[in-house]
């Protein structure tokens, strides 16, 4: 029984079959769609350039004997009896995977025809319908979703203003220096980016929403609230599954309650490298879903891969391997941060523990390999652009 038909749930269902499980697999999701990928919702899907975002082709579920129930909510759990309430009826299970993801954070008083959040395909479709040239989009929050939508909207000829409380975009994830690079990227693309702004309220005028800030009002015709996501764990917590801003799981995606597992955005995972982490990365959802499926089959597995995420904005791709906040002894930059072309390595005990690159996928991949290999490497080799990183390491 898999509750939540996002990429984590889809990955778990596929993995159960790939691992030879021949019992019943039920995949239940509350959205009307079969599992799809969320990353394009702020990018290629939003601009109408992604032909398909389905995780698996439609025939996959029947071919694999996976029963897919869309538009269906799970509203209760009895963990002792191993039963969940699915669309109003009790259904038994041998193993339950909670992969319900999260919801876009909603701010009080912000609703209406021209106020948007972005989490689902329906959200993206509704926003796209209003992103036409001449409209004025205001984005609240310069996190990844806010920045990606700003970039996509500019490419569609929409006027864009971004309001951010921190000193630079993406500051919480990437720090102020790289945040400053992204500030320049967005301003060069014509975005009116205003940082250090506190949003107090939104009111409705005939022309559209009006945002009230500590620095005056901002009028818009379309408003996107990009204030992160929240994890709704009420059902699981009520059933005695330990939760703390997410369903608490061990390295193998087990909750500690017999037969109950969790994966993806809803999980607060005890990562062998980084400790308790709550991430919203696509790659983690896919990998945790696969690990959870194996754990459901009684295998002794752990998810210990370094975190991986990326973001595409205009022609720029930022990629990260490891955890940006992981403790390091030394930081080495290869290339130029101010030219938006670099890889930044975090070193601990002479080994690469984090890799963050902008516009350098090949070197990020080489850096990821150094991280995975765990071999000693010198800062000079990493810094020297004449050194092929695929051959770096050991020699000092």
């Amino acid at each position: 029984m898999i509750v939540g038909a996002g990429v984590a749930g889809a990955s778990a269902a596929a993995t159960l079959r790939a691992e030879g499980f021949d019992g019943e697999v039920l995949l239940v999701g509350d959205e009307p769609d079969a599992p799809y990928e969320r990353p394009p919702l702020s990018k290629a899907w939003l601009s109408g350039q992604a032909p398909s975002i389905e995780v698996h082709p439609p025939e996959f579920y029947a071919d694999q004997s996976i029963e897919l129930l869309t538009g269906t909510r799970v509203t209760g759990l009895d963990a002792a009896a191993r039963r969940v309430v699915v669309g109003g009826s009790a259904v038994g299970y041998d193993a339950l995977l909670v992969a319900t993801g999260g919801q876009a954070r909603r701010l009080r008083g912000m609703a209406g025809e021209r106020v948007h959040h972005l989490r689902t395909r329906a959200d993206s479709d509704r926003l796209r319908a209003q992103l036409v040239p001449g409209e004025r989009l205001v984005v609240l929050g310069a996190g990844f979703v806010g920045c990606e939508v700003a970039a996509t909207a500019r490419s569609l000829g929409v006027d864009v203003t971004v309001l951010e409380m921190a000193g630079s975009p993406l500051e919480r994830a990437l720090g102020p220096e790289i945040g400053g690079v992204f500030a320049g990227i967005h301003r060069d693309a014509g975005v009116d980016l205003r940082c250090g702004v506190r949003v107090d309220a939104v009111s409705a005028a005939d022309s559209g929403p009006v945002v009230h800030t500590d620095r005056g009002t901002v009028e818009c015709s379309v408003l996107l609230v990009a204030a992160g996501m929240v994890r709704d764990t009420g059902i699981w917590e009520a059933a005695g599954v330990p939760c703390d801003d997410g369903v608490l799981v061990d390295a193998g995606c087990r909750t500690g309650v017999p037969g109950v597992f969790a994966a993806g955005d809803v999980a607060a995972h005890d990562h062998p490298r980084y400790g308790r982490t709550r991430v919203e990365h696509h790659d983690s959802a896919v990998r945790q879903g696969a690990i959870a499926a194996q754990a459901m089959l009684g295998r002794d597995v752990v998810h210990d891969q370094p975190h991986w995420f990326w973001s595409d904005q205009y022609v720029h791709t930022v990629q990260s391997c490891g955890a940006p906040g992981v403790a390091v002894d030394e930081t080495v930059v290869r290339g130029r941060i101010d030219e938006a072309s670099f890889v930044r390595f975090g070193l601990r005990d002479g080994r690469v523990v984090s890799v963050l690159g902008l516009g350098r996928p090949r070197e990020v991949m080489a850096g990821r390999k150094l991280l995975l290999g765990g071999h000693p490497v010198s800062a000079d080799q990493l810094r020297d652009e004449s050194v092929d990183l695929r051959r770096a390491g050991v020699r000092r």
Binding site: A18, V55, T317, R362, M365, R368, K369
Partner: protein
């Protein structure tokens, strides 16, 4: 229909365990040397069409640099996810060590 072999690269320039991109008849082709056997694939990840030569090849697995999709270098079959695979082009190495690819 006869094959339309086009010379693409000398085998000497593609070491075992390496991959590289070449353009053949306007098509970007990924050439991979797997333990001395050469394979040719369309140089686009089936996921979102990113160029695969920017990714990683560890001698067995090709990993896309964008979203870490993984493919078996010998067959092009998907490993993670297993549901889609690379498009294969016929390729051969002639007696003087030139790799030929048919992209028709």
């Amino acid at each position: 229909m006869t094959a339309n072999w086009v010379p693409a690269l000398e085998l000497d320039e593609l070491w075992e365990g390496e991959m590289t991109a070449v353009t053949v008849g306007g098509t970007s082709v990924l050439l991979v040397n797997v333990d001395g056997d050469v394979r040719a694939y369309r140089n686009r990840c089936p996921h979102q069409e990113w160029a695969l030569d920017e990714g990683d090849f560890d001698g067995e697995i090709i990993t896309c640099s964008r979203h870490l999709w993984e493919f078996d270098a010998r067959s092009g079959a998907g490993r993670n996810p297993a549901t889609c695979s690379l498009s294969v082009f016929p390729c051969r190495v002639d007696e003087v060590g030139m790799i030929h690819v048919d992209v028709r």
